[in-house]
């Protein structure tokens, strides 16, 4: 129940890991943006983008299984787009009736649903590669370079440090609750209390987690003040981006723009 369980960062010595975090963040967002801008049903371009992200995954040495397993976590949301198959008018694929309603599945609806699913799946892979190949402090550097306010970046940094502590705290609270809660298989025995009682217990846990965090933040503040903190957020200047890294950025963006341009010209 520690850093390994939460932190998706997987240290490797690959080209992707060595890439400047700022460039990685920009390229990941550009990849996702390209995905979002591609028209529905532009299959060749989905395949090319898939080849692109697959190549990056191979180079990154993260392991295909790892990325694919994590990317499946985003699938449940596709349920939201599923009704499109039946609501977009078009060439009828099949139809069935539920009670008084006649429901048609259309080719256009299916095309749109599959397009959305593929785009979303490709985008999530880019985000996974970014998170798995960049440590959080490096991401903070990238955020600063992209003009995220310094105050927000420092809050992110502090949150990241204490997230593990507080997740441990929350899991201790949960463990304590299970330890207190007896369960009986006897048919007559009533266990678990009423719904509102269970909710109140959980609420108490939330309240105490909050209170402990509040008091902890006080102690942290005192510790920071005693080490000379004066409320000003200071940071080292950002390191220079290496020339070779600029080349990667330009090449990556160029490739994505070319894909997009071609897709909009041929398909749009």
């Amino acid at each position: 129940m520690h850093i390994h369980f939460l932190d998706p960062y997987r240290p490797r010595n690959s080209l992707v890991h060595r890439l400047d975090p700022r460039i990685k963040l920009v390229l990941a967002v550009a990849f996702i943006l390209t995905n979002a801008l591609l028209p529905s049903g532009a299959w060749p371009f989905y395949i090319l983008l898939f080849a692109l992200i697959l190549s990056v995954e191979v180079i990154s040495d993260l392991g295909m299984a790892y990325v694919l397993k994590r990317s499946s976590l985003a699938l449940p949301f596709m349920l939201a787009a599923l009704p499109l198959i039946f609501t977009i008018p078009g060439v009828s694929l099949f139809s069935f009736s539920v009670g008084p309603w006649q429901i048609h599945a259309s080719l256009q609806g299916l095309e749109r649903f599959i397009s959305i699913s593929i785009k979303s799946w490709l985008s999530v892979q880019a985000a996974i590669v970014l998170a798995a190949s960049t440590s959080f402090p490096d991401l903070l550097v990238a955020m600063r370079a992209l003009y995220v306010p310094q105050l927000l970046v420092s809050v992110f940094g502090l949150m990241w440090r204490y997230m593990f502590v507080l997740v441990d705290e929350a899991s201790r609270l949960l463990r304590a609750r299970s330890a207190r809660s007896g369960q009986s298989d006897l048919p007559g025995a009533r266990t678990g209390g009423s719904l509102s009682w269970r909710a109140r217990v959980t609420g108490g846990m939330a309240g105490s987690l909050f209170l402990r965090a509040f008091e902890r933040s006080d102690r942290i503040y005192m510790a920071m003040v005693s080490r000379g903190y004066d409320g000003e957020v200071r940071a080292l200047p950002l390191p220079q981006v290496q020339p070779t890294q600029w080349v990667v950025l330009v090449a990556g963006l160029g490739l994505l723009v070319a894909f997009l341009g071609l897709a909009l010209l041929v398909w749009g």
Binding site: P8, P11, R12, N35, A36, L37, P39, S40, W43, P44, I47, L52, S55, V58, I59, R70, L73, P76, F77, L79, A80, A81, P83, G90, R112, S115, K119, S120, W121, L122, S123, A127, I128, A131, L151, L152, V155, F156, G157, L158, M159, R161, M163, L166, V167, A170, S171, S196, A199, T202, A206, G207, S208, F210, A213, F214, S217, Y221, D230, V266
Partner: protein, 326 residues
């Protein structure tokens, strides 16, 4: 375990680009202002306080209780944070939570992060602020006022944020309004009850142990008038607009198409003529096959390259290789 089972973190690919950019701009403006306010209110303590409490909200979303049939109630925390810390700090804290969830755990997309921040940090916080203080004010000095207003604020914040999410999906053309809005609203009306009950439990605990944390907001009508009005406006807008939109989904689609949100949905409508479709499909099939071949070649080349590089490295490292893999 860490994934909140709440269908409110929109992944990438589900919102059209104009919608994403529109909500990015709104979120940047609002959060920028919130940061300024927080700096003025909290002073030196802002970084440790907000950092640790953002971590607490993140961890608090793990807390759950069994409801029935394997489902469970969860804490989301927007209302609790708003009640305890005021709207501006709550917005910043939730922004941090949502951003970390997106960046690190892929719970919600990056391009749509602005929209997710808008729904879960801005809408949820302003609405719960407005509801909490209004009910509190109506209840006067009654002791149940805290609990009633806490419950209603938590429930409303969840439902209104969900309606917002459904509307954005509908405007993007990724989920039909007449299905998404009632479905999201209905599911979150139930989820909201769990959130409300946990919030009440937390308030009861804090009232018993640290009443001073709740006292700052105890008396009088709401002070932050701007947030109150914004919360009211958002709640009314979403509560009134979403039933309308779900009853007339075509209207929403028309508006969306007019403003160019549905760029990708436009073309299918006039590709129905068979003789027009046929050559198109032939070319497209060819292009798809070409892309597949090209893609396979690229990936194959990369795999070969990586394998070759690794082999050369391991042979040049020789016998005294003491590098640990991975």
């Amino acid at each position: 375990m860490l994934r909140t089972p709440i269908a409110m973190h929109i992944p990438d690919g589900f919102l059209s680009v104009p919608v994403s950019i529109f909500f990015w701009i709104i979120s940047i403006l609002v959060i920028g202002y919130a940061l300024k306010r927080v700096s003025a209110d909290l002073g030196e303590r802002r970084v440790p306080l907000m950092g640790v409490l953002a971590a607490a909200i993140f961890a608090g979303q793990m807390l759950n209780f069994a409801v029935a049939g394997g489902t469970s109630g969860h804490l989301i925390g927007a209302a609790l944070a708003t009640i305890l810390l005021g709207p501006w700090a709550a917005m910043v804290i939730l922004t941090c939570v949502i951003s970390v969830q997106a960046l690190i755990f892929q719970d919600g997309g990056l391009l749509v992060l602005g929209t997710n921040i808008f729904n879960m940090a801005i809408v949820a916080v302003t609405v719960s602020y407005m509801v909490y203080h209004s009910v509190r004010w109506l209840a006067g000095s009654k002791s149940w006022g805290v609990y009633a207003s806490g419950f209603i604020a938590a429930w409303t914040s969840v439902v209104v944020a969900a309606l917002g999410t459904a509307m954005e999906l509908a405007v993007s053309g990724t989920s039909p309004a007449n299905i998404a809005i009632p479905a999201m609203g209905g599911i979150h009306a139930l989820i909201g009850i769990g959130e409300g009950l946990i919030t009440v439990g937390a308030l009861a605990f804090l009232r018993a142990s640290r009443r001073d944390l709740l006292r700052s907001d105890e008396a009088g009508p709401p002070r932050g008038r701007l947030v109150w009005v914004a919360g009211l406006a958002l709640a009314l807008l979403l509560a009134v607009a979403s039933p309308l939109a779900s009853r007339h989904p075509d209207g929403l689609m028309q508006v969306a198409a007019q403003y160019g949100f549905l760029t990708s949905a436009r073309d299918p409508f006039f590709r129905l003529v068979p003789h027009y479709l046929f050559p198109g499909i032939e070319n497209k099939t060819l292009a798809t096959i070409l892309a597949a071949v090209l893609g396979t070649l690229i990936v194959f080349g990369v795999v070969l390259g990586v394998a070759f590089a690794r082999r050369r490295k391991s042979s040049s490292d020789g016998g005294q290789n003491n590098m640990t893999p991975g």
